[in-house]
Symmetry: C2
Subunit: 234 residues, 2 copies
């Protein structure tokens, strides 16, 4: 086995989306919802993520990016929390909350270690600019940005895994998908990629997160720093 | 005017393709062609670049990447130089010459300065892995890799300029195409992008290169360091 390139899930695996969205929701919605449970708001918004992408994955509509899907799903989330009167400009800022996430604490240093040995790219459902904003905010350096923007579709459609392999040009078995989600890794493995599972027990706040993979994987790690150790990165 | 993102032509603008390909051709073909004019060989290969891309641009064939086009045009170039007997493995290595180019001397430091103020991406006819190899070899850091791999077509098709603007998400006028080729800049401007011309008087060796733009541009610079100065980068 000789892994040469790592491609990363981002929301949940590299980024703590729930805390970041909750922070921005709390700040932006304070005038409208003083007692808002901002963590629950973030989770409710994320709950609409898979159904919103399904309209594109099914072919029912042409590819639109995740900012568009977030903007489309936001009114329903606001309504759930009794916040129908939030003005347009605040809604637009809320959509940008997803561009202002913080990485899990060990990620910046661990990714820099991994970059000394491997080619790296996000393989996320977020578009290029969203990935760029998260990378710049957190001081992450990637070699390319793959994923939904590059493939014009959403995981787990085959194009996302096949295009990531083809873009770096190594055999699939030398390209490793890194994710905190067993389903993502199951699909990656079905296309021949190596897989690494990262435990993220707090991804969903009080609702927890995956502490171990539920599918066979090539590597399992307690966090990204542990993965760098296991891959022999100084 | 408020440029926020820079997208770069690569072959000729950031990289000295002729010297790099000549170096590799000289090394790899030494056993077969002791007196080879390696610079002329590089120029002859580059001479087949536009016609080879035209088969994709015209829609006559589906997108294939530049490595494939370079491999397809190589036998004709070898035949021109009386080198029909070069073995398959040497030909495959020759195609990789295009992944082993050196940047023009001022580029690494100038690009690092530009990265402090702007989002950066190559917008080249080379595919992702080729861009990654050149960036790694020369210590360049980009925010994303746009261009032929991202758009599955070749400059100057409109998709290359439109997709680059859309990927970073700024208005076209805040996205600047940087190139040593007036034709590339003319097309970029036709899609509303700002433009910067970089003089590369030695791009084609003894045949010279563009010392000034032949079309109206937003900025003109003697090299990339001069552009960083003109854009006010410390």
């Amino acid at each position: 086995m000789g892994v040469r390139a790592l491609v990363f899930d981002v929301f949940g695996t590299l980024m703590d989306w729930r805390s970041g969205v909750a922070r921005e929701a709390s700040r932006l919605l304070a005038p409208y919802a003083p007692g808002l449970d901002a963590g629950a708001f973030a989770s409710a918004w994320r709950g609409r993520y898979q159904p919103s992408m399904e309209t594109v994955r099914s072919g029912a509509r042409a590819y639109v990016d995740l900012d568009t899907l977030h903007a489309e799903s936001l009114p329903g989330v606001l309504a759930e929390f009794g916040l129908d009167d939030v003005p347009h400009d605040v809604r637009a800022e809320l959509v940008l909350a997803w561009h202002r996430l913080d990485a899990w604490p060990e990620v910046p240093a661990a990714l820099a270690r991994l970059r000394n040995r491997f080619l790296l790219a996000p393989n996320s459902n977020g578009p290029v600019r969203l990935m760029v904003d998260l990378a710049r905010r957190n001081g992450l350096v990637f070699d390319a940005v793959l994923g939904a923007g590059y493939s014009r579709d959403y995981k787990p459609k085959p194009a996302l895994y096949r295009d990531a392999v083809a873009a770096f040009g190594f055999p699939a078995s030398e390209t490793m998908m890194v994710a905190a989600h067993s389903d993502d890794l199951r699909h990656a493995a079905s296309h021949g990629l190596a897989t690494a599972h990262i435990a993220r027990p707090r991804e969903h706040g009080p609702a927890g997160g995956e502490t171990a993979p539920s599918v066979p994987v090539t590597y399992t790690a307690s966090d990204l720093s542990d993965l760098a150790d296991r891959l022999g990165c100084p």
